[in-house]
């Protein structure tokens, strides 16, 4: 069985791909068929993932690879392959499980959409591309799937193509991630030039194994940083995070998929996968490339958490929280906590999918209103959504003990605290914890508490096809913490090839109290600040945010996302516009003229040959034909039709002949 799944691991991504193609061939009206095919494909992928997960449990540090030659050129063979190890196995499980919930939720959420069939085709394609990415044993294959993921996200963010903002967001996502991918691709080429292989594991010769790493030498740090560029783009790290909040223009299930299971997880996964390159030549666990990763992560985490406080769109808040959490994961990877980062990625996958689907349910109930200031009082109207959303919020805020996010965040903070370079990231992350609790409390208060406002007047609970996935994901967000606790750190040891031991004493640690205090502070601050949100105060109008009232300038700064979009449009975008204008001008006034000059030369030559033809060759032919025609006319005149004339000619001829012979004689 385990041999079979290793040989056929490619089936896991192939099934959703095939499902996607099959759905694309369905007629546009075939909603049911599309949903059934997509969900069935996801279920098959989930079952196969479970089969793939089982063998990794039996042996500590299990790793099976299957390589094959794609094509050969000269004496080089380009080889691809897939790998099954704990990292790939847990990612497969998470993607397929979260994906399945999202797929089922989508059948309810998208039920009225004209392009339902197309939506599910893209969704399956997205899932397949991501599954292919996690099992790749070759950086090239990973890059291909990486780009397919990018394409799928482009198609899905711009799914409502008739909205100009959706089209713009899709373009922004595609182009921004492309900037990072450029670096990734350069790193890939450099890696190939250095080590001569792109296979990760190849019986000791792969680029992540000691022999391959030794060949990298001093360029390992540069290669790692170039590859990190790709991760920065894909995982929405500063300064390429700008596409991720705009990606909210896509349908909400797409946001859930992008933020939880597929797109953004790819960047973190990539760093975790090629971690040996990052940590090559590490002194005390620190390398130049990892330090860059840490600082980028810290910047992203704190900046996004601050921006999230001042956003009014329910999905935008979640988007910035994703950016912030991804920063957290990057910090964890950078300080050496690969397992902690991956654990947080997995836990985040569950509760972020839950939050986004919950937001989708809220938006569905509020007739596609996304502004939290117009909601309110949904607690009683949508109880299931409220409860599950609250669980997701607790997990995201990192409430300890019961929620998976709390444990993994704890783990991340723990490894960050022991970073030898600086304590600063640790303090920044602690501030981030408070901010996360604060903005999530704000959102919950605005959406679910208080009085009903305009959009929530006639809200009602979503159908069970949407609430059941919420309940499943909420259960995952809680139950997942069983394998995360320090008392039985099963997942941590599974990822780091250790063996977990149960030890209840480790459950309560001093750090836990600190974390509890911080989260409590965040939530308390939130409740205190926003307890009267949406209610007109003596001094403050109802639609003014309390923070906006207290600190208008700060609020405006955060609301406008620290003016980063504006900065980019003034600098990078303006520069590219200018260069486009310049190229246009060059094209019109220089290259065009050059080309036209060559054209004129050609025309001149053409005119010359035409005249030779006309005057020389044609004239000769004309003369010949005219002569022939004249001669013909002359001869035909002799042919009068008068037989007596012919006869007399014959007679005269005969007489002349006679006289000639007579004369001869």
């Amino acid at each position: 069985m385990s041999r079979w799944i290793i040989d056929h691991l490619w089936l896991v991504p192939a099934v959703p791909f095939v499902a996607s193609l099959a759905i694309l061939s369905l007629p546009n009206k075939q909603h049911k068929g599309a949903a059934v095919l997509a969900v069935a494909g996801q279920i098959v992928a989930l079952v196969l993932s479970i089969f793939a997960f089982l063998p990794t449990l039996q042996v500590s540090g299990f790793r099976a690879v299957q390589n094959f030659t794609w094509f050969t050129f000269g004496d080089h063979a380009l080889r691809l392959g897939w790998v099954l190890d704990p990292l790939a196995a847990v990612m497969l499980l998470m993607i397929t499980l979260v994906g399945l919930c999202i797929f089922i939720f989508s059948t309810g959420y998208m039920s009225g959409d004209r392009n339902f069939v197309r939506f599910f085709a893209y969704l399956s394609f997205f899932s397949g591309a991501m599954l292919g990415l996690v099992i790749s044993n070759s950086l090239l294959l990973l890059f291909m799937c990486w780009e397919l993921v990018g394409l799928a996200s482009y198609l899905l963010i711009g799914f409502w193509i008739e909205r100009p903002s959706a089209a713009a967001a899709a373009k922004k996502a595609f182009i921004t991630t492309r900037i990072g991918d450029m670096g990734f691709f350069l790193g890939l080429l450099w890696l190939y030039a250095r080590s001569g292989t792109l296979l990760f594991y190849d019986g000791g010769n792969g680029c992540l194994e000691s022999a391959g790493l030794a060949m990298l030498g001093a360029s390992a740090a540069s290669i790692a940083l170039l590859i990190f560029c790709g991760a920065v783009g894909k995982s929405g790290q500063f300064p390429l995070h700008v596409w991720l909040p705009d990606a909210m223009e896509g349908p909400t299930p797409v946001s859930a998929l992008i933020h939880a299971a597929t797109m953004v997880a790819a960047g973190v996964f990539l760093v975790a996968r090629v971690y040996p390159i990052f940590s090559f030549g590490a002194i005390d666990g620190v390398t130049a490339s990892l330090t860059v990763v840490v600082w980028i992560g810290v910047t992203t985490a704190l900046m996004a958490a601050l921006i999230a406080i001042a956003q009014d769109d329910i999905k935008r808040i979640l988007a910035y929280s994703t950016v912030s959490q991804l920063g957290l994961m990057m910090v964890s990877l950078g300080v050496g906590g690969v397992a902690a980062g991956m654990m947080h990625l997995l836990a985040h996958g569950f509760f972020k999918a839950l939050l986004f689907l919950g937001a989708g349910s809220v938006i569905h109930g509020c007739h596609h209103e996304q502004d939290i200031r117009k909601m309110g009082g949904l607690r009683r109207l949508m109880p299931v959504t409220f409860l599950t959303y609250a669980i997701g919020m607790m997990a995201l805020s990192g409430v300890p003990l019961f929620f998976s996010g709390g444990w993994t965040k704890e783990e991340v903070l723990h490894v960050t605290a022991h970073w030898p370079v600086s304590r600063l990231p640790y303090y920044f992350l602690l501030a981030g914890v408070v901010l996360t609790a604060l903005y999530m409390t704000r959102q919950i208060i605005y959406v679910f508490f208080g009085d009903r406002r305009t959009a929530s007047q006639h809200a009602q609970e979503s159908p069970s096809v949407m609430t059941v996935p919420l309940i499943v994901l909420a259960s995952c967000a809680i139950l997942f913490s069983i394998v995360l606790t320090p008392a039985w750190p099963w997942l941590h040891d599974y990822l780091t090839d250790g063996a977990a031991h149960f030890e209840i004493a480790r459950l309560i640690q001093p750090a836990l109290l600190l974390s509890l205090a911080l989260v409590a502070a965040g939530i308390g601050l939130g409740i205190w600040m926003y307890r009267r949100a949406g209610i007109p105060d003596r001094l403050r109008p109802a639609d003014t945010d309390p923070l906006e009232f207290a600190q208008p300038q700060l609020f405006r700064f955060l609301q406008n996302k620290m003016w980063i979009d504006e900065l980019y449009s003034r600098t990078v975008v303006a520069f590219s516009w200018m260069s486009a204008r310049l190229s246009d001008w060059m094209d019109r006034h220089f290259w065009d003229r050059l080309v036209r000059g060559f054209g004129a030369l050609g025309q001149l030559f053409g005119a010359f040959t035409a005249s030779v033809d006309e005057r020389g060759i044609n004239a000769g032919v004309d003369e010949t034909t005219l002569g022939t025609r004249g001669l013909g006319r002359l001869v035909s005149a002799a042919h009068s039709g008068q037989i007596q004339t012919y006869l007399s000619v014959i007679a005269i001829g005969a007489l002349a002949l006679l006289l000639f012979y007579a004369w001869l004689a």
């Binding site: 001869v635 042919h639 009068s640 039709g641 037989i643 007679a651």
Partner: protein
């Protein structure tokens, strides 16, 4: 006066010339046909004359050839007459001046 070859040749030449003149000058197709027959007769006469005054005039040979020739001439006259009638039916005329459709 003993008949000589010259006398026959003169008569034959006269006959031929008369026939030629008829064939060239008459406009009626039948007369042209008659002229042609006269020229043929002159040729036959020449043939007989040359045979008769040859060194060894064996009885049947020359006459046989002449008789063949006359028979063929008769067949030819029949064909010619049939052609004339066909032409007349088609064009309603036998005047050869008007039968000039084959001119170049």
């Amino acid at each position: 006066m003993t008949p000589t070859l010259q006398i026959f040749l003169v008569v034959s030449a006269a006959l031929f010339s008369t026939g030629l003149l008829a064939a060239l000058s008459r406009r009626h197709a039948i007369f042209i046909l008659i002229g042609i027959e006269m020229m043929l007769a002159a040729a036959n006469l020449n043939f007989i004359a040359f045979w008769r005054f040859s060194p060894q005039p064996q009885p049947p040979t020359g006459v046989m050839i002449a008789i063949f020739s006359i028979a063929i001439a008769a067949a030819e006259a029949a064909v010619g007459l049939a052609l004339v009638i066909a032409v007349y039916r088609h064009y309603r005329t036998t005047n050869v001046d008007h039968l000039d459709q084959l001119k170049g």
